[in-house]
């Protein structure tokens, strides 16, 4: 289904969503950052940024989440599972790369056991993506097989066609239902071919060349040399829409507690530390290698999909300017390879 959405109708869109019982999450500007967060009013929406600071994942896989609570009494343990965590919502104004991270992560969250927190939220949340009309030098979606107007993962895709008009295309049944529910907000699509305003994202490397190189180069100087500057802060993994490692801890007293699932990341020294004190990934070079290997080799082997959508967040946020696409360029460009194999 195709429709037209005018910026003037954002107001009625948000009110409409509220009436239909949806919570709305949209990009909002606060001080320096544009962040995806819950909004109440259409004028909070900001759409003139490249990409939000946070990724979409936190609405499906929050930074911290209670997975059960318990009380311990003499001869008895009572457990209680949380409820009501999947709230009917719309994420409005996510980017195509973020939207695509969802089907990529579905694979792991439905793998050997299905993670109900992820699955139920996936059902409850509808994704309305806005195609990118601009990009920056960190974006590389086109190098990992996506595009600034890609539809995978979105339920509805909006594409800017004039200063205040968006072409509305429904992608899934869920998206179609949403548009039908709010019919009056949309108008008929323009006749003829609209002028889609979509960013041109330069292709930086050939993804096909990455995995074969990784297959051969587990041992290579480049891992250490590239990552001397890395401080192991893990910020890259936390802002990444496709990083999904977590740690489970009990926060408790003697008699009661919560079992909590928290984000974790392979860039931390402690990530692979054994109780004995031995650490199989003992240097930052090894940890950086893990990040690249997991995203461009292991995940591909296991799930037939790259664990990176080219959003560039990790590189934007990195305090030491470790740039992932630069690393991949090095890998994919033979003559560019700066150091010889040992």
């Amino acid at each position: 289904m195709e429709k037209l959405l005018n910026k003037n109708s954002f107001d009625s869109l948000i009110t409409g969503l509220k009436k239909q019982g949806y919570k709305t999450i949209a990009p909002k500007k606060d001080n320096k950052l544009v962040t995806l967060e819950e909004i109440q009013d259409a004028n909070e929406i900001s759409l003139d940024h490249v990409i939000t600071n946070n990724s979409i994942k936190e609405f499906f896989f929050p930074k911290t989440e209670k997975i059960l609570s318990y009380t311990i009494e003499k001869n008895k343990v009572e457990m209680e599972e949380p409820e009501g965590f999947a709230v009917k919502s719309v994420i409005f104004g996510s980017r195509p790369c973020d939207a695509f991270s969802l089907p990529v992560m579905d694979k792991v969250f439905n793998w050997d056991c299905s993670d109900k927190f992820w699955v139920e939220r996936r059902e409850a949340i509808t994704i309305v993506t806005v195609a990118c009309d601009k990009c920056d030098s960190y974006c590389f979606c086109t190098s990992v097989g996506l595009a600034p107007d890609a539809k995978q993962g979105s339920d509805v895709l909006l594409t800017k066609i004039s200063n205040d008009e968006y072409l509305v295309e429904t992608v899934t049944e869920k998206g179609e239902n949403l548009v039908k529910e709010l019919e009056s907000v949309f108008s008929d699509p323009p006749s003829g071919t609209p002028d889609r305003q979509v960013a041109t994202v330069e292709k930086k490397f050939e993804i096909d060349k990455v995995k074969p190189w990784l297959d051969d180069n587990f041992q290579h100087n480049v891992w250490d040399e590239f990552s001397y500057k890395c401080i192991g802060c893990g910020a890259c993994t936390f802002v990444c829409p496709t990083c999904h490692c977590f740690d489970i801890v009990d926060e408790c007293t003697m008699t009661k507690g919560d079992r909590v699932k928290n984000w974790d990341g392979c860039q931390f020294t402690m990530f692979t530390m054994h109780t004995s004190g031995h650490n199989p990934r003992s240097t930052q070079g090894m940890r950086w290698r893990q990040r690249i290997m997991h995203k461009f080799k292991y995940y591909v082997e296991k799930f037939d999909s790259t664990l990176c959508v080219g959003c560039g967040r990790c590189s934007r946020v990195c305090p030491a300017d470790m740039n992932i696409s630069e690393m991949l360029e090095i890998i994919a460009t033979e003559e560019n390879q700066p150091v010889s194999k040992e």
Binding site: E38, P62, T64, E65, K66, S69, P82, F85, E251, T253, D258, V260
Partner: protein, 158 residues
């Protein structure tokens, strides 16, 4: 619901050699003081990490007293001087974050000052009772991990 008077929970971190002995003296002298205080005895005020205070608040304290030997009387010579330096910066830090400094109090009470102990602890209990329960912090505790940011800011502090 019937109105029940708020009774503050006070945690007192006391050094073994002076204030604890002072509190003991108050006890053996059958001096009465308000029963709102739970005492935690430690070897020296110099060994009290500010995290002890944070933990006490996390576990529901409405107010805290840290007390040890008078300057010059420390059993380990200088533990209380080091502690004093710490509280000189930690207290303003908490205040800067919006925690009422009346909720964290300090005193020097010697083994002979049973009377001063009674007076001090009564003072702390009264002051914290007047402030009311430390709702701001307790809210942080009860919200559980799955809450979002906004909820945290709407609470009353104390």
């Amino acid at each position: 619901m019937s109105e029940t008077k708020f009774e503050p929970k006070i945690i007192a971190f006391l050094c073994n050699w002076c204030t604890y002995a002072g509190a003991d003296l108050a006890g053996t002298g059958r001096k009465e003081y308000q029963a709102n205080v739970r005492i935690i005895k430690l070897p020296c005020t110099g060994g009290i990490d500010p995290l002890f205070l944070i933990k006490a608040f996390e576990r529901g304290a409405d107010g805290i007293l840290v007390s040890g030997c008078h300057p010059g009387d420390c059993h380990y010579n200088s533990g209380n001087y080091h502690a004093r330096r710490r509280w000189n910066v930690f207290r303003p830090l908490l205040e800067f974050c919006g925690i009422n400094p009346e909720r964290i109090q300090f005193s020097w009470i010697s083994a002979a000052e049973g009377g001063k102990w009674v007076e001090t602890i009564n003072g702390v209990v009264d002051a914290v009772r007047a402030l009311g329960p430390f709702e701001g912090y307790q809210k942080l505790n009860t919200m559980g991990p799955d809450i979002s940011g906004e909820a945290a800011t709407s609470g009353e502090t104390g």
